[in-house]
């Protein structure tokens, strides 16, 4: 057990480096990936136009700008494509290779996707941060507690996103053509996480569902930490839910994977 762990640790630098190289290998495609998060921008264009004449449900244009920039920033830092990657590897029949390696795929994929973050964010992130601080600064929170918890919150959001995506990817063991499921999930996520619309604008019922499912914890939570003034109790509840979902999503991811691999081995690669 310990040797597997230390082996993984020793392999980290190489894994990270190769992950970076892989991301950089296709110049144009990685540029496109950076630009792909355009949905918030479109929503931003829409809602700022709508709120230009009059605030929409307490959101002024500036509020919308800040909100969607915050969404972009968090999304940039936490998004990953591991669900598609796993499905693709199962389909192409190369997943078996991954299973033979001494490092657990959860970690291998995690490292790959973490290493991609700096590159994905390289241009977009500083830009968004600058824009946010310049034009949307008024909408940002000034509470020191919230600011201090921002990074942990984003890390937790990353973990939850990864765990769930990992589990989703694992469905490929049962349904090789799982694009439908993954896309459907993405639809739910974009609605319930706050990606498409601030949760405050959604009907109460949907807001509750979003909080009881991992969606809010994946995106809405860190964004709220950035934007709104929250009481300590609210902050605690928010972080608490994130921690619970982080643990749950890792467990779910690993469980799905284990069951999937067993089926994979039974059915044949």
């Amino acid at each position: 057990m310990r040797s597997a762990f230390s082996r993984t640790l020793r392999a980290m630098p190489t894994l990270l480096r190769v992950g970076v190289a892989e991301t950089v290998a296709y110049r144009a495609e990685f540029l496109v990936w950076m630009l792909t998060s355009t949905m918030p921008l479109i929503m931003l264009a829409l809602w700022t136009s709508v709120a230009a004449e009059a605030p929409f449900q307490d959101f002024t244009s500036a509020d919308f700008v800040a909100y969607y920039l915050a969404v972009l920033i968090v999304r940039n830092l936490t998004g990953n494509w591991v669900a598609w990657q796993i499905a693709e590897e199962v389909r192409m029949g190369i997943l078996s290779m991954r299973l033979l390696r001494p490092i657990h795929p959860f970690i291998a994929y995690a490292v790959l996707h973490i290493s991609a973050v700096p590159f994905r964010s390289m241009i977009a992130l500083p830009l968004c941060v600058i824009l946010l601080l310049s034009s949307g600064a008024s909408a940002l929170t000034t509470e020191p507690l919230q600011i201090a918890l921002l990074l942990p919150s984003i890390l937790l959001a990353w973990l939850i996103t990864f765990g769930i995506m990992f589990a989703l990817g694992g469905t490929a063991f049962w349904i090789t053509q799982n694009f439908g499921i993954v896309n459907f999930y993405f639809g739910l996520w974009s609605l319930l996480s706050g990606y498409l619309l601030p949760l405050a604008l959604l009907p109460q019922a949907l807001r509750t569902i979003a909080k009881w499912l991992p969606f809010h914890a994946m995106l809405g939570a860190p964004v709220e930490l950035m934007m709104r003034h929250l009481s300590s109790a609210q902050v605690a509840e928010l972080i608490g839910r994130q921690v619970a979902w982080a643990v749950a999503s890792i467990l779910i991811g690993l469980a799905v994977w284990r069951a999937g691999v067993r089926r994979f081995e039974a059915v044949g690669g």
Binding site: R17, V20, V24, R27
Partner: protein, 327 residues
Amino acid sequence: MIRAQELTKYFKVHRRQPGFANAMKSLVHRKYDTVKAVDGVSFTIERGERVGFLGPNGAGKTTTLKVLSGLLHPTSGSVEVAGHVPFKREPQLLGKITLVMGQKSQLIWDLPPAETYAMNRAVFDVDQADFDKRLGELTELLELGDLVDKPARQLSLGERMKCELAAALLHGPTTLFLDEPTIGLDVAMQVAIRDFVRSYNQRHEATVLLTSHYMDDVVALCPRIIVIDQGKLIHDGDLRALIKTMDPDKRVSFTLVESISDDELAKLGTLLSKEAQRITLKVADREIGTVVGHLLGTLKAADLAIEDPPLEDVLRQMFGRAKAPPP
């Protein structure tokens, strides 16, 4: 008929050095090198010939085939296949040729080969009667059986290759370009495919150009060999003539009852191997008579065999010299 005149094809290739700094540099500035894949190659092939292209990896064989089939424009020089210029990809020519690439599949992956066949029939506009007749012939020759009704992804490599060949031949081409068709296949399958190609060539007077890493493919199938190395044509002609030019010495193997000193052996010829009592010598052609006489008479050698050098040795010799390091 196929004619190539001073055929040349250069590629610009991006070379990326390993390492982090270079990876970042490659984002903004790419360095290109010119690779001379084919460098002034000329030959003429008549209808019905079976010609093998030999050469080390990266020699330019596949590139030559791609130019001949119209997939690549030559950088300079002229090419003509059955009276057409290949890279114009005129429909009449496309109906007469076929290219089979051992490592790439034209079968639709998720569907049975039969569906690919139906599609090709529609695309090439093949008469239903002709199609049925050809499919029957190919099914028999290749022993396809019910393979054509299983999704391509469920077939083994050998089964898939047989179905690929059938797909490639359903429009009745008279010129076959085969690029490594037997790669990855077991020996029995290789033999089956060789036999098939030979019979197709004989039945339909089809011209066959074959590239292969397996000497046996080329030796068994192609009376004429074109050797390409680093883009240049090194040899064009008969297989035996090639061997004779490169390595005119014979291989003489025998078993001796009494042992003999290495000096004594050296007088007879160059020692190639000495295992237990079995000795193999390289002997110049003109000395064969004397040496064999001595071996049989004086030394009482047993199980004497005289052979041409194996093709592998010849080619290794041809390509074995030190190559220029990659730029």
